[in-house]
């Protein structure tokens, strides 16, 4: 083996020596010959159109989409259209699903359990807790997801997303982040965990961390029903009915854009403190616009999303439903665990313009954002002991209309301020447990996972605190 090693070293030595003679421009010379070869082969085999330059449609479209003045307004407009379609489109399906799963099947299950004489607590945990939580998530979550993701995929297929990155790149560069963060933020609008995984496209570890930490400021699908519902109840209701839908959508768009703005601000802050560094170069190829295969995309993303939501409903909502029923029905000194906690936390929550119910709901909803509203409603009813609404404490109940929900919340002491603070807190709180786990797997660092988890909460508390104080000063 000795002689083999000597031989190998001599090869390397020869190469070292010759490297000097070949000169510094070796790489350039090589690239040039590659280009030359490519050119000569291509010119023999490829015939380009001579009448008009290829991609003239693309170029014209790009001039508009990436223009200095039209680019951003167009982006907001598209975002608004996507939200509006999602809101309007999911109304009827949500109502139908609720009518089926909650109004029809739930009583049916209760009657079966009554006829076979299931004990009160099994019946409660399984049917009023687990089943209802799952039913609510499917009714509330499935339609928006089924609409948003195909729309998003169509935009993706068309080729619009790299233009978004192109438009936002100067902004991100100015705050020390990478232009591709725009893309990962866009993915985060669907699901934050998916957005985290998408950050793999960012090479620089520093910039990748920035994208990961700020990804939670993208409103994921699980949080929209919360935003849409609260916006409709508290904001849409204060304008004439014919523009209520539009105004609610605009409010949600505002929150979404606020999230993007905050991601820029936080990136800037982190770049100056914990994650100092320079923005790296970003070369992005704007792919040609390709006609999306509409029917195919609708079909596959619909099926994908449906299955995904159903899976999440089972894995996350069911345990949460069980927990909700348990804390609302297990009592100490005649008062349920839930009520103990709520009363204990209420004074603190009041400072932030929220209440104990919301805090408890957010703790229960750590696994998944979509169960926040159902939990809030159920806990509010249990807390107030409202008779005639719902079928007992700890049971989620059917709502004929948004108005019913509104009545419950108002009866629970909610005001416009509470509504606004909830929308803000929904934007600025810890990521769901799936996302936290994904962050840990991707960064392999406890420190950065902790930062990603607690930074949004702290920001949420700070924002709601100041808004509450200012509001109360103004109103008084």
């Amino acid at each position: 083996m000795e002689s083999a090693n000597i031989n190998r070293e001599s090869i390397l030595a020869t190469a070292n020596n010759l490297r000097w003679e070949v000169g510094e421009n070796l790489h350039d010379t090589l690239m040039e010959s590659i280009y030359d070869n490519a050119y000569s082969i291509a010119s023999k085999a490829v015939i380009l159109p001579d009448k008009k330059p290829a991609y003239s449609f693309d170029r014209t479209l790009d001039k508009i989409i990436t223009s200095k003045y039209l680019g951003f307004p167009l982006m907001f407009l598209l975002l608004g259209v996507v939200f509006w379609l999602t809101i309007e489109g999911s109304n009827v399906p949500s109502g139908l699903l609720a009518a089926l799963l909650v109004d029809t099947i739930h009583p049916f299950l209760k009657s079966i359990s009554a006829s076979i004489g299931l004990p009160f607590w099994i019946d409660g945990v399984l049917i009023d807790g687990a089943y209802l939580a799952m039913a609510w998530v499917v009714a509330v979550m499935l339609p928006p997801m089924a609409i948003f993701f195909p729309l998003f995929t169509l935009l993706e297929d068309f080729g619009y997303l790299p233009r978004v990155a192109f438009n936002m790149d100067p902004l991100y560069k100015r705050v020390g982040a990478h232009g591709k963060q725009a893309l990962t933020m866009a993915m985060g609008f669907g699901c934050n965990a998916a957005g985290i995984i998408a950050t793999r496209v960012i090479d620089s570890p520093r910039e990748r961390l920035l994208a990961i930490i700020t990804n939670n400021f993208s409103l994921c699908n699980g949080r929209w029903p919360t935003q849409i519902l609260i916006a409709t109840i508290f904001i849409g209701s204060s304008v004439p009915a014919y523009i209520a839908g539009l105004v609610s959508a605009a409010a949600v768009v505002f929150i979404a854009v606020l999230g993007i703005a905050l991601s820029l601000v936080v990136s800037w802050g982190l770049s100056k403190t914990l994650l100092k560094g320079e923005a790296s170069a970003f070369s992005l190829e704007l792919p040609p616009y390709r006609p999306p295969r509409i029917l195919q995309t609708l079909y596959t993303s619909l099926i994908d999303r449906t299955i995904f939501v159903l899976w999440r409903a089972i894995i996350f909502a069911i345990p949460a439903g069980i927990v909700i029923w348990l804390v609302s029905n297990i009592t100490i000194n005649g008062v349920s665990l839930a009520n103990h906690f709520i009363h204990w936390v209420n004074p603190v929550a009041f400072i932030f313009g929220l209440n104990g119910v919301i805090f408890l709901a957010y703790i229960i909803a750590i696994p998944a954002n979509e169960i926040v509203i159902p939990t809030i409603l159920m806990l509010t009813v249990a807390n107030l002991g409202l008779a005639g609404v719902g079928a007992g404490s700890g049971v989620m109940f059917e709502l004929e209309s948004v108005g019913d929900t509104a009545n419950i919340l108002y009866a629970g002491g909610w005001t416009l301020l509470t509504g606004i603070n909830l929308m803000l807190f929904s934007l600025l709180h810890n990521p769901c447990s799936t996302t936290i786990y994904t962050i840990f797997k991707e960064t392999k660092s406890v420190k950065w996972t902790a930062v990603s988890t607690f930074l949004p909460i702290i920001m949420g508390l700070v924002v709601t605190f100041f808004l509450t104080q200012i509001w109360r000063i103004i109103v008084n």
């Binding site: 083996m1 002689s3 083999a4 031989n7 190998r8 070293e9 001599s10 090869i11 390397l12 020869t14 190469a15 010759l18 490297r19 003679e21 070949v22 000169g23 070796l26 790489h27 010379t29 090589l30 690239m31 010959s33 590659i34 280009y35 070869n37 490519a38 082969i41 291509a42 010119s43 023999k44 085999a45 490829v46 015939i47 380009l48 159109p49 009448k51 290829a54 991609y55 995929t153 993706e156 297929d157 068309f158 080729g159 997303l161 790299p162 990155a165 591709k180 893309l183 995984i197 998408a198 793999r200 496209v201 090479d203 190829e285 792919p287 040609p288 390709r290 295969r293 596959t300 994908d304």
Partner: protein
């Protein structure tokens, strides 16, 4: 050197397997491994989905595929493992994506490398094609997005391209499933050794460069006589490519034998 070299794996039909296992590919049930390479956003994942029946997420922006995808398919009673490499513009820079792709093609020695080329950007895609042809003989070019080329009135003579490149060129529109049967067939033929490629080698005009490459190649051949791509290795040494230098120092380069036809018939 003693007569029986227990560390020399290159004569064993399973050595290819050893490298592939190291790269994380489970080859226990497969006959051939096929790598999918190409520029970003050329439809590699679409081809992948079509061949394997899986549903990787595709989308019209570069960098969509971030995890290495593996799948399998069966054709003519042979089982193929398909590895979707990250899209790269070249193999000569130092980004992680390009190293992953390059290392897989070089050290993993796939039985066939399918390069998916965007028919609307042939000249630019050829940069990568020509570089890959320097590393491995067993290549098939899938000329994808022919429907886009037609839409933009770009005409391509696949036969001329194939003659110039010395490897099969299959026009295709993977989204519509066009050309996929021909692609499968040619993959099988190249893998089984029924179709022998004579790939184009990049010609350089620089005298100093050619002289240097010759000199180093001769030394390399003395030490590693069975190396299939000596000229390319010499070039990488001249450029100071660290992983190639390591491969020479450790002797691992010696494991890269020319594909032995005898090893192909393993099942």
């Amino acid at each position: 050197m003693s007569g029986l070299d227990l560390n020399n794996c290159s004569t064993c039909p399973a050595h290819n397997l050893g490298n592939l296992n190291k790269l994380g590919i489970n080859m226990s049930n497969f006959d051939f491994v096929v790598a999918l390479a190409g520029n970003p956003n050329t439809g590699k994942s679409t081809v992948f989905n079509y061949l394997t029946g899986l549903r990787q997420h595709t989308g019209n922006w570069p960098g969509k595929t971030v995890t290495r995808a593996e799948g399998g398919f069966e054709y003519n009673k042979k089982k193929f493992k398909l590895v979707d490499l990250p899209g790269t513009y070249s193999l000569l820079s130092t980004s992680t994506d390009e190293e992953v792709a390059r290392d897989f093609i070089l050290f993993g020695q796939p039985d066939v490398t399918v390069i998916v080329v965007d028919a609307t950007r042939v000249e630019r895609n050829l940069n990568l094609v020509l570089q890959i042809l320097e590393i491995t003989d067993r290549t098939v070019v899938c000329l994808n997005l022919m429907d886009e080329a037609k839409r933009n009135e770009i005409k391509i003579d696949a036969r001329v391209l194939s003659k110039e490149l010395g490897v099969p060129v299959i026009p295709a529109a993977a989204r519509q499933g066009e050309g996929m049967n021909e692609l499968l067939n040619i993959i099988f033929e190249v893998a089984a050794g029924k179709y022998i490629c004579k790939p184009h080698r990049i010609k350089t005009s620089s005298k100093e460069l050619n002289f240097a490459v010759e000199k180093i190649s001769r030394e390399i051949t003395k030490e590693f006589p069975d190396l299939p791509n000596t000229r390319w290795v010499a070039l990488r040494l001249l450029e100071g490519d660290q992983s190639i230098i390591e491969a020479i120092r450790s002797g691992e380069l010696g494991n890269l034998k020319k594909q032995n036809l005898a090893t192909v018939n393993q099942s």
